[in-house]
């Protein structure tokens, strides 16, 4: 039996850090010889062990933390009591300047607070969107549809459609349409004209997330398609679809 055949029993325990000193030393000595088989095995085991982090319950920060954070940025550094009495006359000008700076500082902090609150609101809305997307993607009866393009550089796009909860489309690395154009998602029925399922623009990194409640039944749909349309979308496609995903 070679070292590797014997040592591969240790990969998971090594990655998890549960090996005793002797076994760990044996494997470390072997890894020091840069054994490719064991290094790959340990790498895979480490990835599996890293997934155990999902066992930790997700925790929302308590409201108290938010209050304390906001209170901290609103606090005004206005402690002047340490000034010695003999310095009053000589420091009047400095004091006026200090007060002006403090007022300016307080204004800046108030702006930062407003900015923080606005970002928090955006993040809360975004989190809610993601939760909804996940609910659609992971519900019973949801179909996964891959939309592909004949253009070799265009990425694959994935959609999840649940008759009861709606349709969610996720994409990465999509090319940005021109400023006056938008992407439009269509449900192509087996019979009749395409039905719009929403318009969307990817973010600057090409990521896109569209949640839609298409006015079409999944059983009557033949495919999903994405076209490039003038901003605001069109009642019917005016260009050839760039991505198509059949439902059959």
């Amino acid at each position: 039996m070679t070292d590797c055949e014997h040592l591969n029993e240790y990969y998971e325990a090594f990655a998890l850090g549960v090996l005793g000193d002797e076994e760990r030393a044996e494997l470390n000595a072997h890894l020091a010889r840069r054994c490719p088989t064991c290094m790959q095995g340990i790498g895979e085991a480490r990835w599996v062990v890293s997934q155990l982090a999902y066992l930790a319950e997700p925790a929302a920060p308590p409201a108290r933390v938010r209050r304390q954070l906001l209170a901290a940025v609103e606090k005004k550094p206005a402690r002047l009591g340490w000034f010695p009495t003999w310095a009053w006359v000589g420091t009047v000008a400095a004091l006026v300047l200090f007060l002006l700076l403090t007022l300016q500082h307080a204004r800046n902090l108030q702006e930062q607070t407003r900015d923080l609150e606005s970002r928090l609101k955006d993040l809360t809305a975004q989190t809610e969107t993601y939760r909804r997307a996940f609910a659609i993607a992971s519900s019973a009866g949801t179909r996964s549809i891959i939309l592909t393009s004949p253009q070799p550089t265009a990425p694959q796009i994935r959609a999840y459609w649940n008759e009861a909860f709606g349709l969610v489309l996720t994409a990465q690395k999509m090319p940005l349409p021109a400023a006056d154009r938008t992407y439009q998602l269509w449900v192509v029925p087996k019979q009749g004209k395409p039905i719009s399922a929403g318009i969307f623009r990817p973010d600057t990194a090409g990521g896109a997330l569209l949640i839609s409640g298409p006015a079409a039944r999944m059983q009557e749909a033949a495919a999903l398609a994405i076209t490039n349309e003038p901003a605001g979308g069109q009642p019917q496609p005016t260009t050839t679809p760039i991505w198509v995903g059949p439902l059959s």
Binding site: E9, Q51, D115, L116, L123, A133, F134, R158
Partner: protein, 84 residues
């Protein structure tokens, strides 16, 4: 506070969904293990105990603890590979 800056980024939607699916696989699989095996994994991962320490804490044979942990992780690897 002077140099205060704040940046929060949400993950890419596709990555986020992928993470959620993996989290579900991990929680379901570990949750479906017998309680003693779950405890062994928790003691190893969250408490940083070795095989011997876990065996002593749980009053179980060392070989049993080793088998529990290895088989659980191999099973998890297989399930995660299938979920990809």
């Amino acid at each position: 506070v002077e140099n205060y800056s704040f940046e929060a980024k949400m993950p890419n939607p596709e990555q986020w969904l992928d993470q959620q699916r993996r989290a579900e696989v991990v929680r379901k699989l570990i949750g479906s293990l017998p309680k003693a095996q779950q405890r062994a994994i928790e003691l190893a991962y969250f408490e940083g105990m070795t095989h011997s320490e876990i065996a002593e804490t749980m009053n179980e044979p060392l070989g049993t603890v080793k088998t529990w942990i290895r088989s659980s992780l191999l099973h998890l690897r297989q399930q995660l590979a299938e979920a990809r």
